[in-house]
Amino acid sequence: MATESSPAVPSKQPSSQTSSILDPSNFPQTLSSETIYISLVYDPLDVPAYLRFTRSPKAGANVLFLGTTRDNFDSRPVSRLSYSAYPSLALKSLYAIAEDVQKKHGLEKVVIVHRLGEVKVEEESIAVSVSSGHRASGWTGAEEILERVKARAEIWKREWFADTGEVQEGVWRANKETDAQGNSIQSK
């Protein structure tokens, strides 16, 4: 057929460039409203600021979760790790999760902040802070947010292992391979 075009063969070399979408100088990137604050940052997390944001005269409960980086995976020593993201899509997904769980559990305010780039062991890679009238919805809401973020948000962890002397390329982790207890899940 005349309209059938040939496969998308680049005319010359496809132009490949260092991606500017992850240039640290373009961060932090934030999406927020009166009651929701979502951010991707390269600097260490400013936890007190997130608690200040979620504090509310209507809230009697404030729940904060901090995810910190571990020095091991499956008993193997991790020498360093870093996070990358699809920033515009991750912000959109994080906001949608925050908004949905906020409605579902009647949360007053929600903060989700994720760090990008290299994160030293013991430092925070993610903070989830929520406030609610009473504690039950706060606990449940914060947990649901975290689980949905880990399943969905377009953010990737790469780990380098000390026992290979970093000669190997870093390994991209996939959250669906481990459960909330850190146990490995047999995937299909």
Binding site: A8, S15, S16, S19, Y83, S84, L89, W156
Partner: protein
């Protein structure tokens, strides 16, 4: 960003990026997904099996509802994986999204 009149931007993340050694590719548009995947497989042999089959695809920040785990780029059967005839337009931003690992 390269928003040419006859190209689209392909963003490669995580394993898609390390496998190809590229984070951003500017490719001709319009192109069907089938053409794009065929091109990627030709440029980076093994890409379909090692990366694409476990990945999702977004176009302008929206996920496509297509199953890639049965993908065979060599197949000429147009019905083998539905949705592959979708046309990517000039200026579109397409993302290859491997399994995520935030937190």
């Amino acid at each position: 960003m390269g928003m040419g009149k006859d190209t689209f931007t392909l963003l490669l993340f995580a394993s898609a990026s390390t496998y190809t050694g590229a984070e951003t590719l500017t490719l001709p548009a319009p192109s069907s997904l089938r053409q794009i995947f065929t091109t990627l497989e030709r440029m980076y042999p093994g890409f379909v099996d090692k990366v694409l089959k476990s990945a999702a695809v977004t176009v302008n920040l929206e996920y496509l509802d297509i199953e890639l785990d049965g993908l065979d780029p060599a197949s000429t059967d147009p019905g083998s994986t539905t949705g592959l005839d979708m046309l990517i337009k000039p200026g579109d931003e397409v993302g290859i999204i491997p399994p995520v690992s935030s937190g």
